[in-house]
Symmetry: C2
Subunit: 333 residues, 2 copies
DNA sequence: ACCGGCGAGTCATACGTATTACTTGATGCG
DNA sequence: CGCATCAAGTAATACGTATGACTCGCCGGT
């Protein structure tokens, strides 16, 4: 009982030192872990005991100031959706293993580093991970080490991407094997590399197909916009027998467009998605789509960033996806 | 041209002072904004110009250390889904207006403050916002100011919640008006206040209904689990004519269970959701559900937390939701 | 002529940590 | 015995900022 109501403030290393009867430097030495040969095991034990008893935890601001490092990286994502949650998990797991924290920041419009949300956490970070950016790659990020995810691996910045071309090629091959020749591409009107790549890969794959042809309609990444875009394709001069969508959400819109016209999926028109989100199995019929290893993306990206922080220069890589065939694709009528 | 390749390191306030020909304190005063009557406008202009030219931005760690405050709050969410993205946006908007940043942290299992992900960012924060927790409310959060979101407003901690009871009552009233009397509750098996409240509200509303009866099946918050739970209800001794689901995702599972049994929605069985996520309009038929003002939740929660930081004690409030009637509800056969 | 007061800055310091350089007493060795 | 070595720890310092205490002219009033 401290009748005086002593200071209940958070203990500092000096408080621990006082409690252990040693100097502050000794505390720092012991708790820093590098004390072999400098402090006797007995004293170290006393210090550790005192620290535990007081519930001491080092002040992060002071440590950052002293070391010039925060052991924290910033993770910028275009939106708060489960896909990026999975990416985050992968990244955070690797980071934790190295004593780093990961701060998640939604960064919708791809505004520059001066964008106000970023400015808020500007200085307490050692590196940046940015996911799903467009072709105007931020070459450097305020001078901070930078790794891109799900972006153009051919750029100057180290990047971990998906092998989008392979995924799209697998989609087209699957549909072609079923007998489809006329494709409609329901494209996402977002300026992100991954969507540019999906579009280019589709075009290349269909063009390489004897008798293959395709049309395209772009829309915002939501159900209603995708429904209208898919409708425009279905109403076009030569109706596609398969709608290839840039994303599972857009595929939901394609379903709606088909139903509105009395067309059955997959009887009258096949539909494919991309990403394999939870939605894919919520839809009826369940959606044929491409599963992307989101956790791996985060893990590999964080590994690359940590390499960069250590002065090594990581190479860009592309992770393979996998076609998941469900019930939304069938031979054309 | 500095032929010597001078230090390209980030400039400090002392560098600015040197460039402006004043002392470091003057720089700090000017840039701090509180210089009226202490510094002449002419000098202030010179300082601001120099700071701009050098691209000076204050070191956050040093400022935190000096002020004992980080102007940053931690926002813990159970999962990375669009709903919490909207909550975050509301919170971040209010925070930015007061010069605060918001750090988002996924906190899946509701582990204690000692949970490793939290520990990583432990010290650079002034307060905590926690969303959607269970009954074992963390009374204090390592001594940090705390506000709960979407949690029990009757607890000791200031809380901003939704008026879940009203929402669920509206659902039951809507279905009752259509003629439904036998309800099935597809419940989320998560230990969060909001789901407990939804269940209790449903029971109360149906029990108050003459001739009303209900059964319940709980499941994890995913499509497949909900499908099985809903199936169990539909296969029960007295088949419900309406399935009330704790969440839109579970409603998708209810759709599947109905289809598997050859039952039409809403012809043979009505289905309702909760939250009004994007999924609600992706489903066929579109889902009758309860829209919750997620952005407001974040904004009000942040306002309450800022009040708390200022020494005021905010009151707990509950925000009203709104029933959105779509195509998944109809009179029973 | 002297002093109070004020405008315009500067000096010095503290925040809490990590680390380098130093002290101190004991021991080993020739 | 004298000196180097060593173990065990401590004193001092720097990181970059914000701010209370202080200085230094200068002007107005009596």
């Amino acid at each position: 009982m401290h009748a005086t109501g002593g200071p209940a403030a958070r203990p500092t290393s000096r408080d621990v030192a006082r409690a252990a009867g040693v100097s502050q430097s000794t505390v720092s030495l012991v708790l820093g872990g590098k004390w072999t040969g400098r402090v006797s095991p007995a004293t170290a034990a006393v210090v550790q005991d005192a620290a535990g008893r007081l519930g001491y935890r080092p002040n992060r601001a002071a440590r950052s100031l002293r070391l010039g490092t925060a052991r924290t990286v910033l993770f910028l994502v275009p939106s708060i959706v489960p896909f990026f949650g999975a990416v985050y998990d992968g990244a955070a797991r690797v980071a934790a293993r190295h004593g780093f924290g990961v701060v998640l920041y939604p960064w919708p419009d791809g505004a520059g580093p001066a964008g106000s949300p970023f400015a808020a956490s500007e200085e307490a970070i050692d590196g940046v991970l940015v996911s799903s950016v467009g072709p105007d790659v931020p070459a450097g990020f305020g001078g901070l080490p930078l790794v891109l995810l799900d972006s153009d691996p051919a750029g100057p910045v180290p990047t971990v991407a998906f092998a989008v071309e392979d995924g799209m090629r697998a989609v087209v091959a699957h549909l072609a094997a079923l007998g489809h020749r006329r494709f409609g591409h329901v494209a996402a009107a977002l300026d992100q590399w991954t969507f540019h790549a999906r579009g280019a890969a589709l075009a290349a794959a269909v063009d390489a197909l004897p008798g293959g042809s395709w049309t395209r309609a772009a829309a915002a990444l939501d159900v209603a916009a995708a429904r209208d875009a898919a409708g425009a394709l279905l109403d076009g001069p030569s109706r596609p027998t398969a709608l290839v969508c840039d994303d599972d959400v857009m595929a939901a819109g394609a379903y709606k467009a088909a139903r509105l016209r009395g067309l059955a999926v997959p009887g009258d028109v096949s539909v494919t998605g991309f990403d394999d989100e939870q939605l894919a199995t919520a839809l009826e019929p369940e959606l044929t789509t491409v599963r992307l290893p989101a956790g791996d993306l985060g893990a590999r990206g964080m590994t690359a960033l940590l390499d960069l922080l250590d002065g090594r220069r990581p190479a860009s890589v592309a992770l393979p996806g996998a076609l998941v065939v469900r019930a939304s694709t069938a031979p054309p009528r």
